[in-house]
Symmetry: C2
Subunit: 421 residues, 2 copies
């Protein structure tokens, strides 16, 4: 089954907003056996939406649209859909009652524009959006499904997960088989890993794809087997994963398809360890990553963002003399930060960062991009110096990743290290 | 002048990588008077690239492609372009010498695959990529320019800035005018604002667009005037912004096209105030947002992420009795957190959050989605209770936004409040 995605909104076209909806939808479709052939973005412009619709409908089995369903004048998607499918609209009491309830819960008064959100197309299936006011509309013509969802990411994700994917599966009878396997690999650059896997890749059957998804310090390898039925896809993927394990051995540090912060959380919970943070250049982003994981309160005690020398000294007990003599971006300071965080927060492990994120700052010895990272455990402190680049956002995100990875390594206990089947 | 962007790569289609190139290109084109009509993403697949090329070429003046120019076998963009423009290829000594030099600088040996990158199309203008090995190729046929660039963001940006935009400007004589104006509006829901602006929108000339970009607690309004020459576009946009100011008055809290954390930074610097954070449910995300802004060390002192009652008591001095009796998600606790952060961090303003981000947790009185936010100033503490939804990421991001907005309001000084022209 093939699909195309059309994202709609001027803000996407002029570069004010990055389209993350289509990334999420692509992944969800791929995971359920749909092949995404093309993605398009058009503005809030009826003729443009119509043109894109007409073209996509010719090419694939499913067309998914997001955006342009708000109550304001610049939202024209539903008009375009009604024109395309040559249909009038009617007032849906069901949608209206849902919206009334939603407004009441939020304590906001309904006006004429929000009332209009219940005007739904005559010849579409209308699916209530339980987390928002714009419903999902589902058209079908000559074997092609055209499904329109709101552009608010939370609403789109809710609709996709709870309504659209299940309906698509029902329709297409879960025919396609697809199996993904993930291996997190450390200790290789991308090209070195590609060389190590050259024979493995040469022998891959046509229906299997191997993707390299490098991150700072580690590479996520993703095996995807597209075979029917599902049992065959699973078997092929498992056999190939076994070969990967034989080739890469201890370089595979985990096999769950989860971000590093979630892998860390699992390992901490399994080991019964608590964790805390002391951040300078990462400014709270490590703590934010750790706490983005549901259930993190079971192992995360807290963090201190010490952006000034004064706060490093006051809350983490970093020596004022060291701050003065060697400066904040140094091994003694980052190690004292990690130790100080363990003490101040009462946690088993603490990670600390100190660096120059840029774009300005830095010294001749420690230019912009220099970041020290330390982890304190009950028995020791380890630290490492990194040299990233000139871009602030990049430096912060690389430092966060390396810090999480360092914590992950230090949280290792034997029963967690062995890859699970 | 109109443009379309085609980004090429399987990794973009299956949701493994987020397309940020087209966001950057859109912004660069818009800033130079090009109107981006559509963006498309296709896989590393020759027939698909050809189809997209054929369609785009019919519609616009300029088609920009990125990606699929690497040395490996899955990069097929240049083959597709040569087929589309019916041209053979030749070996470019100039490109080859540049690549040899680049490899020598990097201390890497050249192989046959990298040698092939000098095989350029006969009937295109070839532009050396000074920061990489794949050149930019520039085709022209029947009034449409088709420009292909590598997908590595740094290389694409270098080519766009130093070669493509200047050449396009030379060709099109800097004719087109485009002016954007932004207003940040509070105190309205999206639909209420649309009703308040109904007359304004009705009277807008055809060449002006108004977009609503809602965020939790505030709406970014964007006016775009497309008229020539530039001076007229600017004048039209300014006149309309004046009208918006008259209609919306004090509901316009800022006019810079910057995220709220950057607006807050400007205001704090102008007022000479420092800030700190005490976060529970937001887990460091407020501090991370504030410090994502370059130069934030001038006004951000630090933050405390107090994820447990123990840390709230120990580092922020929250009363253990209150934590016991009313619980952490309560007005007394969040206000003590804000006051405690001011003291512990030595800052003028401190913001605090305490809530149930979910998906589990919560109490009958304070279900998941309940978030208390407080701001402590030198003279007072204000606090407010919010009820968001069930999704953890959404609750965190809404709480961050509301906290930044509350800080922004409290950091107001008269000379910053007045909108700047």
């Amino acid at each position: 089954m093939t699909a195309e995605i059309i994202t709609i909104g001027d803000e996407l076209l002029i570069g004010q907003v990055t389209d993350t909806n289509s990334v999420w939808i692509s992944r969800a479709l791929e995971d359920h056996g749909f092949r995404v052939m093309r993605k398009q973005t058009v503005g809030d412009d009826e003729p443009e939406i119509l043109r894109a619709l007409r073209e996509s409908e010719q090419r694939v089995d499913v067309v998914l649209l997001t955006g342009g369903l708000g109550p304001t004048k610049d939202d024209v998607t539903l008009n375009a859909l009604c024109k395309h499918f040559d249909t009038a609209r009617h007032f849906s009491t069901e949608v209206h009652e849902h919206n009334q309830q939603l407004f009441a819960e939020r304590g906001v008064e309904m006006n004429d524009l929000t009332r209009d959100q219940a005007m739904v197309p005559d010849n579409a299936t209308v699916i209530i959006n339980e987390v928002g006011t714009a419903p999902c509309t589902w058209f079908e013509r000559r074997g092609c499904m055209v499904i329109s969802m709101p552009g608010v990411p939370m609403e789109m994700k809710w609709l996709m997960t709870n309504r659209v994917i299940p309906r698509l599966q029902e329709y297409y009878g879960r025919k396609a088989g697809i199996a993904h396997r993930t291996c997190w690999v450390t200790g290789y650059t991308e090209s070195a890993l590609a060389m190590a896997l050259a024979d493995f890749e040469r022998d891959l059957p046509d229906e299997v794809r191997l993707a390299y998804l490098p991150q700072p310090g580690l590479i996520r390898l993703r095996l995807s087997a597209y075979c029917s039925p599902q049992a065959v896809a699973d078997r092929v993927a498992d056999v190939l994963r076994l070969r990967l394990r034989t080739i890469l051995k201890e370089h595979i540090i985990a096999e769950e398809d989860l971000p590093i912060e979630a892998l860390l959380g699992r390992r901490l919970q399994a080991a019964g360890l608590t964790v805390g943070t002391a951040e300078s250049c990462t400014g709270g982003a490590i703590a934010a990553a750790i706490t983005s994981v549901a259930g993190s309160s079971a192992y995360f005690k807290g963090g201190i963002v010490s952006y000034t020398d004064e706060v490093k000294h006051r809350t983490l007990g970093v020596s004022a003399a060291d701050l003065e003599s060697v400066g904040a971006v140094s091994q003694p300071v980052v190690e004292q930060m990690a130790r100080g965080a363990r003490e101040a927060l009462g946690c088993d492990l603490a990670v600390a960062t100190s660096g120059f994120a840029g774009p300005s700052g830095g010294t001749p010895e420690a230019p912009v991009g220099t970041v020290w990272i330390a982890v304190a455990t009950p028995s020791a402190v380890v630290s490492k110096e990194y040299h990233f680049g000139a871009a602030r956002d990049h430096n912060i995100s690389r430092a966060v990743n390396m810090a999480l990875l360092m914590l992950f390594e230090k949280a290792a206990v034997p029963e967690v290290q062995a890859p699970t089947a």
